[in-house]
Every structure is written in structure tokens, then in C-alpha cells.
């Protein structure tokens, strides 16, 4: 077989299970010497798990790795590095308060001696940095460097082991376009030296730009491997997302009425390390679900926070039921009937160390009927909480149960109950961010039913989700966010999946005007 003669690495039948998830399911991968091999797939498709197995972080449940013609088993990343395989992690894994040299030398045999020879380390780093044309000052503290330069430190750490295969995990997610271009130049020069590169990404354009071949992963399985020049972004998007056929949507046609939420030319700053929003405009009407698609970290949370009043609005307008709220206090917005199910409820919505009663009465904790004049009416509270727990099927021994003791599904039910059935202020607008992330099928279905029910009650729903299937199943229209911009807004019923995939990658590929 000619291909296997060239193959420097073969992974055969790799499977890896985590509790409740099959991350890799019989994956075969072959990487040739001197190629950039892209691993393409959605979040959770199993790309990073596969590469973590390759570099010795995880052990596969099944399957074998053949490296340079010999079967290998790496017990640790050190062993993989010694054999010439290194990985540049997405989050760099650097120690911010150490210098560049200290970070590069971390884990190298010389750093395990009792004394650290700083001048020698600096000289070693300068040598590597000169060899690969990646200039850097070894004595700078890492925390003073930009994201692009920090990545350079992480790359130098890998290159200082003189690897033959370098794995990059979504390396461009924190880079400016210019930094990304210089990274690609460096990758090309590495493969010209005969090294191989595995390049994890979900950006189609990068694949077309840099990769020799591409393997598409979906749900832990390999969909296909092909030469990049023989494929197209459209084809890759279809493979990545998986289905050409749309869902049979079990929902009534929507009957949108008046505009509830209107966002015009919104701009905000991003959270540290996250994108800012630019010129966002969208409308959500009563009785419709507007889905917001996008690869996570492209401004979804910033959008939800801005509408909820939790993130300062730099410019633009937000109106809810005709009232300007861009600079309102979060409580005012809550009291206008805005329900918000934030991303990562454990962190952002729930008091894990407090009991269910405390959690369930949040947002209703001021004023009548539960707390007229700021004093709790214990009977009314107990009755209200009891009603919520029963109506939303939160299974718990008592109201005094700690939130920490609930399962993910029960916790999400608790949050839904609190947000959708408040003691005062009936919801008019519901913002839900990844409301089913991490939930099992039953709980997911419950959340979906609730959201559709809210829509059919004539409420406006803004559904932000990293799950395209969920968006297509629930939304009436879908707006696609990429890098803090809305690339386009399309009716969910007629959209082609590849188009959404392409738009998530930043291109309005169909070339059609954004619909609204």
C-alpha cells in the first residue's frame, strides 16, 4: 500500500469512553511525513481526545498506535515527547509568573535537577528560537506576553524536544488574523523540514488554506479522510455537521406578533480573552424563537449578557417592549419580565452550597408577594417553592436539599422553574444559552418542550446554542454569529446545513443577502 509506506503515524481502531460519553469510537487515522493533516469536527466530535491519546495524556480503551513502523504505548506526555511527538495545547498550559525560559524548560530532563541553571536555559531557548525562526526574549515573564507570543512559547516548548510530529489544538482561536498567518508560515516551514503536523480545527477556511489532507470527525467517529484539494468547504461542512436532510420538526408554525426584543448596532467589549460584539442587530418577536448559532466563544455569551444588563453596552440600542434598556440595571431588566438561563448554570445561575428554597426564590426575593417590605413571608415562600418543584418535576427530598446534591437535569429544571414561573413579573422574553449542554436525552427533551411552550404562549425566545441540531429543531429563524458579528440571519425551515456551517466559519457562502 503506497499510502502506508509514507505514513509516519497510524492510529487504528482507537476507542475511548468517558463516563456517559463515547469520545472516540473506532477511529482510524493516518498521518504522512511532511504533511499538515487537519482534524475537522464540531465541538465534542472527539478531535482533542484523539490527539490527547496520541500524545500520551490519555490511554485508549481499545486500538493501537503505530509510530514510525513500531507499535507504541505512551504512559505519559514525556514518553511521547521522547519519541518525537509533541502537542501545543489550546490553552497553552503555561505558568504565567514564570519566564519564557522557565516555561520552555519545564518538564525537560535538565529542569528536574535540584538547581535550575537560568543562563543555560535562556541559551537553550535562544538556540531553539533561532533554529525555527521564532524570535523571543527568554527572560520575559509569560504574563506580559500577548496571546500570540504566549502561543509561541508553547510552540517553542514542544519544538525544543525536536519532535517529528507536532499537534496543534485549535491554535488560531486566540490569534489575530496576522498572527494566524505567521503561524501558518511556521507550519509550512516545519513540514518542509520533513516534520508532520496534526492540526485540530473547526474552521473550514483554515483547512482549505493550510492542510494537505483532512479527516472529518463526527460524534467520535471518522466520517472521511480526503485530499484537501479534492474537496470543497461545502462538502466538508456537510460531513462535519452530518446530515443533509433537515429534521422533521414537531412544532406548530410560529405566529410571530409584536417585536419584543430589538437590538440595533450593538457593540460591547469582550470578556478577557473573548471576542467583542460589533454592530449586532436583531429582532425577536412575540411567539417566535430566534436561534443564535456559532462556534462557542464567538460572542454568544456577550450578547446574552448585554441584553440582561450584565455587560456594559459601548454603543447601539437594546429595546425590550419598546423600552430602552441598554444601560438599565440588571434588576430593572429582570423586572420587565426577562428570563435568563445562562450558560454554565452551576457557575452563573445556581448557589450550589445553598438549599433549593434559596435557589428557587431568587429573582422573586424582593417585594410582594414573597417579601413585602423586604421581610420574608415564610408560608408564601414555602408554598411558592413547593409549587415550582412540583410543576417542573424537580426531584429532591425537600426544600432544604442543597443544590449541590441535584443531578444536572434536576438542576436545569430548577433554573427553568425559577425563570419561567416567577412569583412576580411573568416572562415576556426568555434568553436561554446552551440550556441543554451536558443534559441527557430526557432532560434535553423537557427543556425543548418548555421553550416551545413558552413560544406558543406568545413569549419571545432568544435561544443561543452550540448545538446546531437543537437550533434547527426549535428555532423559527437562525442568526449566525462569527467573531462578534452576525454573518447572516436565515429562516430555519429553508436553511441548508452547509450554509450555516460555512457562516459559522465566518463566510456567508451562499452569497445571498442576509434575510431578516
Amino acid at each position: 500500500m503506497p499510502s502506508s509506506e509514507q505514513a509516519v503515524l497510524r492510529m487504528v481502531g482507537i476507542s475511548k469512553k468517558f463516563p456517559g460519553v463515547v469520545a472516540n469510537d473506532g477511529v482510524d487515522l493516518e498521518v504522512r511525513a511532511g504533511e499538515v493533516h487537519a482534524l475537522l469536527g464540531e465541538n465534542g466530535a472527539g478531535k482533542t481526545t484523539l490527539m490527547s491519546i496520541l500524545c500520551g495524556l490519555y490511554h485508549p480503551d481499545e486500538g493501537s498506535i503505530i509510530w514510525k513502523g513500531h507499535p507504541v504505548r505512551f504512559a505519559s506526555p514525556w514518553q511521547a515527547a521522547a519519541q518525537g511527538i509533541g502537542m501545543v495545547h489550546q490553552d497553552f498550559k503555561l505558568i504565567q509568573r514564570m519566564t519564557v525560559a522557565e516555561n520552555v524548560m519545564l518538564g525537560q530532563p535538565s529542569s528536574r535537577r535540584a538547581l535550575f541553571d537560568a543562563p543555560a536555559a535562556a541559551a537553550a531557548v535562544e538556540r531553539v528560537s533561532a533554529d525555527f525562526g521564532l524570535p523571543i526574549d527568554p527572560r520575559t515573564q509569560v504574563r506580559q506576553l500577548s496571546a500570540g507570543m504566549q502561543q509561541r512559547v508553547a510552540i517553542l516548548r514542544v519544538l525544543s524536544g525536536r519532535p517529528d510530529l507536532v499537534i496543534f489544538d485549535e491554535p488560531t482561536s486566540v490569534l489575530t488574523p496576522q498572527e494566524a498567518e505567521s503561524l501558518f508560515r511556521m507550519m509550512r516551514s516545519l513540514v518542509q523540514q520533513g516534520k508532520s503536523i496534526c492540526f485540530i480545527t473547526h474552521k473550514l477556511e483554515e483547512v482549505m488554506h493550510i492542510a494537505t489532507r483532512v479527516t472529518v470527525l463526527r460524534d467520535g467517529k471518522v466520517v472521511d479522510t480526503s485530499e484537501t484539494r479534492l474537496t470543497s468547504p461545502r462538502e466538508l461542512a456537510r460531513r462535519m455537521v452530518g446530515r443533509e436532510v433537515l429534521f422533521t420538526v414537531t412544532k406548530e408554525p410560529s405566529l410571530p406578533r409584536d417585536v419584543t426584543l430589538e437590538v440595533q448596532n450593538l457593540a460591547t467589549a469582550g470578556a478577557p480573552g473573548q471576542v467583542a460584539l460589533h454592530d449586532i442587530s436583531l429582532q425577536v418577536r412575540q411567539g417566535e424563537i430566534l436561534g443564535v448559532a456559532g462556534i462557542s466563544g464567538n460572542g454568544q455569551n456577550e450578547l446574552a449578557e448585554a441584553i440582561a444588563g450584565l455587560r456594559p453596552v459601548l454603543s447601539g440600542r437594546i429595546t425590550i417592549d419598546g423600552r430602552e434598556t441598554a444601560h438599565s440595571h440588571p434588576r430593572e431588566i429582570i423586572n420587565m419580565g426577562v428570563a435568563y438561563i445562562p450558560d454554565k448554570v452551576r457557575q452563573n445561575a445556581v448557589f450550589m452550597d445553598l438549599d433549593l428554597a434559596h435557589n428557587a426564590m431568587a429573582k422573586s426575593h424582593r417585594g410582594a408577594p414573597l417579601a413585602p417590605f423586604g421581610v420574608f413571608r415564610m408560608r408564601a415562600i414555602a408554598a411558592h417553592v413547593q409549587r415550582l418543584l412540583a410543576a417542573y418535576h424537580v426531584r429532591a427530598p425537600s426544600q432544604a436539599t442543597l443544590a449541590r446534591q441535584l443531578s444536572g437535569g434536576n438542576l436545569q429544571r430548577l433554573v427553568l422553574a425559577r425563570e419561567l414561573s416567577r412569583a412576580q413579573h411573568t416572562p415576556r422574553l426568555i434568553i436561554a444559552a446552551n440550556p441543554t449542554a451536558g443534559l441527557d436525552v430526557g432532560a434535553t427533551e423537557y427543556v425543548h418542550t418548555q421553550l416551545l411552550e413558552q413560544r406558543d404562549l406568545g413569549r419571545a425566545v432568544l435561544l443561543i446554542s452550540a448545538d446546531l441540531d437543537e437550533l434547527l429543531a426549535l428555532s423559527d429563524r437562525i442568526a449566525v454569529l462569527s467573531a462578534g458579528h452576525i454573518v447572516g440571519t436565515v429562516p430555519a425551515g429553508q436553511v441548508h446545513l452547509e450554509d450555516i456551517g460555512l457562516m459559522m466559519g465566518g463566510t456567508n457562502a451562499a452569497g445571498r443577502e442576509p434575510l431578516s
Binding site: 478577557p272 440588571p330 445553598l354 426575593h365 415564610m378 415562600i381 425537600s398 426544600q399
Partner: protein
């Protein structure tokens, strides 16, 4: 997302539990009542506290034995001195009262996620505020004057705590460092005033101090012929008020929410920065009441050592009391007795008074070890 405010992540289920709002049990336990395991939980908390005390005293006896003193005799003197006589009990109450008031303040701040280490300085400012009201107002009916003395004390402590709260909310200044520094400022400010502008100029006073407060600003005695005064009753009342505020009002709800999870608090519309400031105002105010209590009930004038470390000890009192008002009342009694009993040991057997601080430290460590063990078991 960055947290608005960093602070102690005190598990609010800690300590003597059982007063969480609402109950699924309906009528039998009443509104806000707790299922029948309340008594068990209390017993367990008390048992753990007793274990910590026993461990601390065991370690202390080893130290006493090293000094060549029979530990059994030493603790005999300890018990006799603190609880064995009418005067001993009165002195224990005199010491427990400021510890309880300041400890309640510490608990309010800790529950709200703010590490207020500044009770000592807040006590000094409270004493100053009370002194100003008790010295420079004309004679008034005693209830009115005492109320104003209390307000003066609260205001002084609230000012000192509020500054730290404001700096944390506005500039993310670390409240631990700020409150420690404010301790020195408060102690030295009072020292300056009683040796200078406010000094008793008669020359009769044995130490730098102000002239005595006017009679209508003094707290009446609780036990005749002792120093025990009715400030103790006010401390018990304050525990009730703090419990009600924290567990039965929207304000307390917001403070506890901010302390338990500032991110989630923001998402449910709570102004976490405001909560930090409010918590520090109340916390400092309660410590200020302790200062007013010392001036109006014990010393009757302001001195430069109006608090002998009550503020620092009140942190231990609050933690040992599980940050719960009732627990803090008991824990202040315990530490009050330790103070008085240790003095008795020193007088009778020359055991160094520093033993108090050793016992204090040992008790805190035992309590924290227990907390760590629990934390680990729940993860």
C-alpha cells in the same frame, strides 16, 4: 466571566444549621421550621465543638505540664475563676459581650463573602463615636441617651468598615489588607485623641483617658456589686436581629447570595458591589456596638486600650460559632470564660496569659480541619 468580587467561599451549610427558609414538611414544622433532624444537627454541631475544645485543652495541658504545673490544678483554677463564683460569671459575661457583638459583625461580613479582619479598629471607632455622644451631649433621659450612644458606636464602626467595603467594591482593594491597616489607624487615632485633644486634663487619671461619660450615658448594672451590665442583654438582642436580618429579609438574602456565589448573584439581579458595602457597614457597625458597650458599660471613659484584642478574638468567636448568631452567643461565652479563667490561672499558678491565644489558635485549627474534611467528603 470575571467574578465581580472575590471573597471567602464559606459553605453556608456549615455550622449549626437548620434555619433555612421554607420547608417541604408543611404544617408540622411550621413556616421556616426545619424537619425533625434539626435537633440531631444541633447535637452534632455541639458535639464537634466540644471535641475541638477538648483537643485544644488537651494540647494546652501538655504545655502547662511542661511548665511544671499540674494541669488538673491549673484547670481547677481556670473553672473556679471563670464560672465558679458570682464574680467569675459576671466577668465572663463582661468579656463575652463585646466578643459576641463583634463576632456577629464578623459573621455578617463572612457570610457576604467579605473577609473583614478589621473588627478591632471598628471597635475603637465605635468606642470613639459612643464617647462623643456620651461626653458632649447635654444630660438626657437615660433610654434616649443610651440609644444615641449605641447609634454613635454603630456609626463609628460602620464608618470604618464602610471605608474598607467601598474600597473593595470600587477599586477591588483587598479587604483583608485594608481592614488590617484600618485597625492600626483606628487604634492610633483613638490613642492620639485620648493623649491629646480629648485627654482628661485634671491630672488625676492614672492613664491617658477622657473624662467619664455623663451619667445618663452609662449602662445600668446587670448583677449588683460586679461589673456585669445590661449590655449583655443588648448583645443577645443583637443576635436575634442579625439572625432575622440574614434569614428573614431580602437584604440578608442578597448578602448571603453574594457570599455564596457572586456570579450567580449578579445573574439574579443582585448588586454584588452594593452588597459588599452594606455588609461592611453592618459588620463594622456591630463591632462599633462592642466599642460603645466597653465605654458605656465597662470603662465609662475612653482609653487607648479600650479593646484588648476583642476584635481579633471575635474572628475566632464567629468561626467557632459556625457563623450562626446562636452559635456565636455560645462561642463568645466560651472565649469569655477562657479569658477570665486564664487570668485566674495566671494569678493563682503563674500560668502565662498567652495560653489564651494558644487555646484560641488550637480551637480554630480544629474547627478548620473539620471543615476541610467535610469539603473533601462532598467533592
Amino acid at each position: 466571566m470575571s467574578r465581580g468580587v472575590e471573597g471567602p467561599q464559606w459553605s453556608q451549610a456549615e455550622g449549626p444549621p437548620g434555619k433555612s427558609e421554607g420547608s417541604a414538611q408543611g404544617r408540622s414544622s411550621g413556616p421556616g421550621g426545619q424537619p425533625p433532624n434539626l435537633a440531631i444537627k444541633w447535637l452534632r454541631a455541639a458535639g464537634v465543638a466540644l471535641l475541638a475544645i477538648a483537643a485544644a485543652f488537651l494540647a494546652a495541658s501538655i504545655l502547662i505540664a511542661i511548665l511544671g504545673i499540674n494541669p488538673i490544678r491549673a484547670f481547677g483554677a481556670f473553672i473556679q475563676g471563670s464560672l465558679g463564683t458570682r464574680n467569675g460569671i459576671a466577668e465572663t459575661l463582661v468579656r463575652a459581650t463585646p466578643l459576641a457583638l463583634a463576632g456577629l459583625g464578623v459573621a455578617v461580613a463572612f457570610r457576604a463573602g467579605v473577609w473583614n479582619i478589621g473588627a478591632e479598629g471598628q471597635i475603637f471607632l465605635g468606642a470613639l463615636g459612643a464617647t462623643l455622644v456620651g461626653l458632649y451631649l447635654p444630660p438626657l433621659p437615660r433610654p434616649v441617651h443610651l440609644l444615641l450612644v449605641g447609634l454613635g458606636g454603630f456609626a463609628g464602626g460602620a464608618l470604618w468598615g464602610g471605608i474598607a467595603g467601598f474600597l473593595k467594591a470600587r477599586f477591588q482593594a483587598n479587604e483583608i489588607i485594608v481592614t488590617i491597616m484600618m485597625n492600626y489607624l483606628g487604634i492610633l487615632l483613638v490613642g492620639f485623641l485620648v493623649t491629646g485633644p480629648m485627654k482628661d486634663a485634671s491630672g488625676l487619671a492614672p492613664q491617658p483617658q477622657t473624662v467619664p461619660l455623663i451619667a445618663s450615658a452609662l449602662l445600668p448594672k446587670l448583677i449588683p456589686a460586679t461589673r456585669a451590665h445590661i449590655g449583655t442583654l443588648f448583645a443577645i438582642a443583637a443576635a436575634g436581629v442579625v439572625w432575622f436580618m440574614m434569614k428573614r429579609t431580602s437584604l440578608g438574602y442578597e448578602l448571603r447570595s453574594s457570599g455564596a456565589n457572586p456570579d450567580a448573584a449578579r445573574h439574579v439581579g443582585i448588586d454584588v458591589k452594593r452588597a459588599v458595602v452594606v455588609a461592611m457597614l453592618i459588620s463594622g457597625g456591630l463591632a462599633g456596638l462592642a466599642g460603645a458597650n466597653e465605654v458605656s458599660g465597662v470603662q465609662h471613659y475612653l482609653t487607648q486600650d479600650i479593646s484588648s484584642g476583642y476584635g481579633y478574638l471575635s474572628i475566632a468567636v464567629a468561626l467557632f460559632g459556625g457563623l450562626e448568631p446562636l452559635g456565636i452567643l455560645f462561642s463568645s461565652l466560651f472565649f469569655g470564660a477562657v479569658l477570665v479563667g486564664s487570668e485566674a490561672m495566671q494569678r493563682g499558678l503563674s500560668v502565662p496569659i498567652y495560653l489564651v491565644y494558644i487555646i484560641e489558635g488550637l480551637v480554630i485549627i480544629s474547627m478548620l480541619l473539620r471543615q476541610l474534611a467535610r469539603r473533601r467528603s462532598t467533592v
